[in-house]
């Protein structure tokens, strides 16, 4: 599955207001779902965060969960204008957040495959110091596409 194809302009916010971890997660969820379903997703994501932060270090976090509220894999991306506390593994604040919600019924385990792929891409972004580089949605999607291609060639 091509990650760039799962990204849409409406779900990439490169000037997200900084705030509490919970508020930032809620904002990103609401770009995918509204109302009761959105709150259900937020509750599950926050429970997941209690198990251990999804802040993977070097300024990137990947909150994720499965939820009944979606019927296909949904991704939303946000970059905060100032880094926020996310209790990341390296204890450093986070500014780039990939939020992933997958449907509960996922026979091919696409969710975990995609999650693994996003972690790989995120590590490339930090390695190449690209967190703050894209300034538009288009540039962001192109960056993801390029990294995916490079990772594909290495295999």
């Amino acid at each position: 599955m091509n990650l760039a194809s799962l990204l849409s302009k409406e779900r990439i916010d490169l000037s997200l207001s900084p705030g509490k971890k919970e508020d930032v997660i809620r904002t990103l969820v609401y770009s995918i779902k509204k109302g009761e379903d959105a709150e259900l997703i937020v509750s599950t994501l926050l429970k997941r965060e209690e198990l251990g932060s999804t802040g993977i270090g070097k300024g990137i976090a990947i909150p994720h969960c499965r939820s009944l509220a979606v019927n296909k894999l949904e991704i939303s991306v946000g970059r905060t204008t100032k880094p926020i506390q996310f209790k990341a593994i390296d204890k450093k604040p986070v500014s780039l957040i990939f939020l992933i919600i997958a449907p509960p019924h996922d026979p091919g385990n696409q969710y975990l495959i995609t999650l693994g792929k996003i972690v790989q891409i995120a590590k490339e972004i930090t390695k190449k110091n690209l967190v703050n580089k894209p300034t538009t949605h288009e540039e962001f999607i192109t960056m993801i596409n390029d990294i995916e291609k490079q990772l594909g060639k290495r295999k």
Binding site: D37, L40, L68, A69, P103
Partner: protein, 113 residues
């Protein structure tokens, strides 16, 4: 009241999926750290949530979970996404009620459109 039960049921189901994902070897390979104590706390939260459900619903949920791993199935395009059988039209109009699939017995969930 039904709304509260449905909300507890949905959250319980999502938490059960979260718990089972944490136990997946593939998930551990990705490299996310999971705190063991918090994992146990999550299981306690899930058990507390189960106790908040009426006994008959809690019993059905647990029985379905044992049988299928996932007790709840979303409805998409008129199909039960647990057994992929077309649901009777009459049942589709009951989206606000707690209902089960007449074929597999899973509790049906109607996502907001």
């Amino acid at each position: 009241m039904l709304d509260v039960i449905a909300m507890h049921l949905k959250l319980l189901f999502d938490l059960d999926n979260l718990i089972s994902d944490m136990d997946e070897p593939k998930y551990k390979e990705i490299g996310f750290k999971v705190d063991d104590e918090e994992h146990h706390a999550l299981i306690r939260t899930r058990n507390d949530l189960l106790k908040k459900l009426p006994d008959d619903i809690a019993y059905v949920y647990e029985r379905l979970k044992q049988r299928y791993r996932q007790a709840v199935a979303p409805v998409d395009n008129g199909f039960c996404f647990g057994c992929f059988q077309k649901l009777p039209t009459e049942l589709l109009t009951r989206s606000k009620e707690l209902t089960t699939c007449p074929n597999c017995g899973r509790i049906l969930y109607f996502p907001e459109q």
